[in-house]
Each structure stands twice: as structure tokens, then as C-alpha cells.
Symmetry: C2
């Protein structure tokens, strides 16, 4: 029997637990979408304006780190963080030039380490925090921010599936 | 100020309201992604195995109708519903052949009418219903099912953005 449920999870307040169930499910589908890809496949460029699947995986981790800063640390990225992450965050030419030569495990480790930080921080917070306006961006709350992290990942997973189906 | 918040919404129990906020946000981004497309652009085929943007929009509405049946009506689609929806649900060859010639408003109306049914049904249900096992698929609950409707939409919105950027 296929089992997929969104429910409160042990270790988190109820609404945070449901959100973690969504983040986890989205991640599971991303990992399934790239399962078994070689380094050459991760570096393959479908056309001159595409992003590689590897760069999209790096982007997914970078977006998550960005929202960790905004929601947990309540600050914008520093100059050095911006420099370090911008190829993955902005993709495009710099992403095509700078993100390559890694095998799948490199990207999976990056995603896993980033997610561990997210889950540890979410476990220390509660549902009131989740839905309060963000201190540095009061038009947003953490619930939207973390839904958006899942949403951006799913958006790119859709592209990864499309690109994977057309690998040479 | 950009405002995006996931919060309980008036007219729904709290967890259903948060879910509706996610469904609404996902839909808003889909509509933005197709804004202004002409009939020819909606029917354009990027390559022989692609789906048109129009077919992806029809698919998004069809998936939503499918989950209405499973979660609200607690039944599988009938033979005639399956026949009517299968080009949009399964896409591929039949989708390419059968879904074409419509302007953007056709797809938007289909999405809007489908969403109205969803919201009316969700407004009549509560959070206990949302997280109980589905009667016809006890490995799933309605919360996962409706998250999945948003997730499938976002996945295809990622593809729509990719395809739109490459329209002739």
C-alpha cells in the first residue's frame, strides 16, 4: 500500500510537523528524480540557456540556506555568503561556468547537511513563531517562507524530470 | 511590500485554511506563468515528446478533479469520467492530439470552475477529516492529497516556465 500522509510529526509542534512532512515528501521526490545520474549527466547542458541538473540541485540547497538566514537568523546573507552562494542562487551564466565536475553524492550531501540544519532549527521553534511576520521581511511569515522552499524545489524538480527524460 | 503568508483563513478550519493558502499561492504563480499567452503559444510543441503549455494547464485542472472524487466523493472516477479526462490526465500522445485550439481563457475558466468546487467542499469539512485516512485509499489522507495537487501543479508550472522561455 502506498503511504503518504501529511500529519503532525513527533519532535515538532503540530503545524511545523505538517510542514516538515511536506518538505520531506518534496525532497524524497527530488532524490528519486536524480537517482543514479552520472557526473556527465549532472553536467549535461540541454541548450545554451538551460541549467544543468547538477546546478539545479545546488540551487535547491542554496535557496534553503537563504531561508534559514531569513527565518532563523533573521538577517540577510553577508557579503561572503552572497559571494559563495550566488552562482547556485542565481544560476544562469555563472551557474553554468562554476557548478560542474561533481558526482551525485556531492549534491546529495549538500542537500542533506542543509536539511539537517533546517530540521534542528524547526524542532526548537513553535507554531506561533511559524506564523508571525518575519522580523526582516514583515510581509512574509516563516510558514510561507518554508512552503516556498518546498515550492521552489518542486518547480525545479519538474524541470529536472523534463531534462532527465532528454539526456543524450 | 511583498506580502505572502500562510495562515488560517476565514471560512475554513485552521489547517484547511493554511492548505487553501498554499493552493491559492500555487495557482497565482501558475496564472502568472501563462499570463498573456496566445492560442498558438498554448498549442506550441517544443519537441515531439513535449506537452504543450495548454495541455499542462488542462492536466492541472484534471488532477484537481481527480482528487475531488477521491477525497470528497470517496470514489474512483467512473468509466465516462475516465474517458473524458484521460487525455489531460495522462498527457502524451492523446494529449498532443486532443488538447488544442483553445485560447487562454478556456483553460483559466476550467481551472477556476474546478477550484470553486474544491473550495466549497473544503469549507464544509474540518481538520479531523483532513488528516484521517482516505476511505478508498487508506495509505493516504486528504491533507497529503491536496498538498499533492499543489505539488503536481508547481511541478508543471516549473515546466511551463521553461517552455515559455523557449517559445519561438
Amino acid at each position: 500500500m502506498t503511504t503518504h500522509r501529511i500529519l503532525p510529526l513527533p519532535g515538532y509542534t503540530p503545524t511545523i510537523g505538517r510542514l516538515v512532512a511536506m518538505l520531506d515528501y518534496a525532497r524524497e521526490t527530488t532524490l528519486a528524480a536524480v537517482n543514479g545520474l552520472t557526473r556527465a549527466q549532472l553536467d549535461h547542458l540541454h541548450d545554451a540557456r538551460s541549467n544543468t541538473i547538477g546546478a539545479l540541485l545546488a540551487h535547491i540547497a542554496a535557496v534553503e540556506r537563504g531561508y534559514q538566514l531569513v527565518t532563523f537568523d533573521e538577517r540577510e546573507p553577508s557579503v561572503s555568503e552572497t559571494a559563495e552562494w550566488s552562482a547556485a542562487l542565481k544560476l544562469g551564466d555563472r551557474g553554468r561556468r562554476e557548478i560542474q565536475g561533481h558526482d551525485l553524492q556531492f549534491y546529495i550531501d549538500d542537500l542533506r547537511r542543509t536539511r539537517e540544519v533546517t530540521l534542528a532549527a524547526l524542532a526548537q521553534r513553535d507554531d506561533a513563531w511559524l506564523e508571525a511576520p518575519l522580523r526582516i521581511a514583515p510581509g512574509l511569515n516563516a510558514h510561507w517562507s518554508w512552503f516556498h522552499v518546498a515550492e521552489d524545489e518542486i518547480n525545479h524538480r519538474g524541470q529536472i524530470r523534463w531534462l532527465r527524460a532528454r539526456l543524450p
